[in-house]
Symmetry: C2
Subunit: 350 residues, 2 copies
């Protein structure tokens, strides 16, 4: 697999977003959100997105020099409107404001409407964990699931992330969407000519399918049937409906900002509930119980939520693997922008 | 199925809890939590629990005349210790205090440690919805799941409930636990001598099993594999660990109050984020999108979360069905208490 030096790749992606139209600070943040996903091995939310993000910037949907506008403020919440601020910039700004608010009120929430795609939800939950708080990040997304019993795309595969700080270790980060299998895995199966496992998707006629092309034209199946479907509906209300943004079928990555995804962030300032050291010690006790649970056949280790990704990111601190097809797509996006600068030299000898 | 008049059954269960040792007001609330579950058709959380609850009361673990003690208060949260207040009484009290707090801060959270079983989580989320707020209720529970990759009971099948108010209709109430199938369904299969569908449970050796007895000795499988397992861990932290109560393997329905389950409640005062009428209109638009999604083969209707239960409860406003085995268990619990009063006359002619 092609390998790139992280610092150079990050700088290159930053320059790409500057060419697209972002200022250096916004470009750097968006590049960090994407490159950190690749470092964690989550290529579906990594630099493969530069083309889509660059298009949002070029179209004027995302602009620099904008910060989410405060619509309403209460004792423990803010409601913001992104108003063209790039999704990841709006989200990071919102979670930082949520952390500040939680320092006063103990628990705080920040809603952002019309913000658009923000990359990996866990990135923002971790902003709270880095401050010693429990953080939650939710978003709605363009429809890809049918509600349980249906066969049309009505609900988004809405991400849910929770980050829990730990003593001297990477936070526990649950970062999940609500389908059985990610759309990206179905696309990969389509490219490779593979069939799908049972239970991943429905064809447009509503029957189960193992054909990835039928699945891409149809709907993703929600995790746990009616449970995942119910969670998708609830997250849509907790984000788009509460924020006064788009929801359900109207959420779109292609239409104007009124139709962009909404986000919700929550932070709990642990130290206001109980001594921080006791909380951290109890988290370690729970982690110990979980990690030392006797193994089922076929498993070599029990992993905490986010543990695999944190290890991969630590291994790829300096040098990151990018799948060949990602490199091709990134190059194509750069060319489409007129950003001719070659990617940093590969360090895999390729 | 045996059928009973609701008002008489509720009064009978109330008197049973008074005989066990609760005062009339606490006894009435606990009876309402249980009878309303049966009315909704959720018999696993209905009057079948009178024996276990009566035992907690008789042992002194649950006492009347106690309200959860305020441990800490912040701008948007309360931390309470149930200190022997019966689980459902503590939970209802906590959600009411959460609603009051949210009127000031917009978003509020109330944590209750050492509280014990509270019945159906949705009951408490609905207390917020009845006040026009979005309500969330979480609890941890005695261990019944292995973390993904394990074969020992380390995490609870922790309930998650969210209630969303509607205009002129019952609220949307998502009320789910994190296993593929409820323990109650596995117990039922064991009693009937049925085999289990694939994917419900592991035997004590960690291999999949279709034998309900092996499943009851082993572990329930989490919904979505690592996703449900991760959610169970996260809910444990959001309840027991944040509240300074029991968590993981230590949560027990049998040991003293320090080991009882903890709860967390959240409420969002919708009207502080946006005009209440706009919110309610948008909820109806989303409901319309969901309900009018084209159907998959084999489905006659798309149901909202909680819709089936709300309909059943409306049908059973005056008269409620109780499975024969529930009637037997309730009678046995009453006899064990020395509560000789016969159950109200059945109205099914049985």
């Amino acid at each position: 697999m092609p390998r790139f030096p992280v610092a150079e790749l990050q700088a290159w992606v930053t320059r790409l977003f500057q060419v697209a139209g972002l200022d250096p600070s916004d470009a750097h943040l968006v590049a960090d959100v994407l490159v950190s996903a690749d470092r964690a091995g989550v290529h579906s939310h990594g630099v493969v997105r530069v083309g889509a993000y660059a298009e949002l910037i070029r179209s004027g949907a995302w602009r620099s020099g904008v910060r989410p506008r405060l619509v309403r403020e209460g004792g423990a919440f803010l409601l913001l409107d992104a108003e063209g601020c790039p999704g990841p910039v709006a989200a990071a700004d919102a979670m930082r404001r949520c952390v500040d608010k939680a320092r006063t009120s103990g628990l705080a929430g920040v809603w952002v409407r019309s913000a658009g795609h923000f990359g990996r939800a866990g990135y923002y939950a971790q902003i709270a964990a880095a401050e010693g708080m429990v953080g939650v990040a939710l978003a709605n997304a363009a429809p890809s699931l049918a509600p349980w019993g249906g066969r049309e795309r009505t609900l988004g595969n809405n991400p849910v992330a929770v980050a829990i700080p730990r003593q001297d270790a990477s936070p526990v980060v649950l970062d999940m969407a609500l389908s059985v299998a990610a759309q990206g895995r179905i696309r990969l199966a389509a490219e490779r000519g593979d069939r799908l496992p049972a239970g991943w998707a429905l064809a447009p006629d509503g029957n189960p399918t193992d054909d990835p092309h039928q699945a891409l034209a149809g709907t993703l199946l929600p995790v746990g049937g009616y449970k995942g479907s119910g969670l998708a509906l609830v997250v849509d209300v907790l984000t788009g409906v509460l924020a006064g943004g788009a929801f359900g079928r109207e959420v779109s990555p292609r239409r104007g900002s009124r139709f962009a995804a909404s986000h919700a962030f929550f932070a709990v300032d642990v130290g206001q509930l109980r001594p921080r050291a006791s909380f951290l010690a109890d988290v370690e006790r729970l982690v110990h119980m979980v990690k030392h649970t006797a193994l089922a056949p076929g498993f070599g280790e029990i992993l905490l939520p986010g543990e695999r990704e944190a290890r991969r990111a630590a291994e790829q601190k300096d040098v990151v693997d990018l799948p060949e097809e990602v490199v091709v797509q990134v190059r194509r996006a750069a060319d489409g922008l007129g950003f001719a600068e070659p990617l940093p030299p590969r360090v895999d000898g390729g």
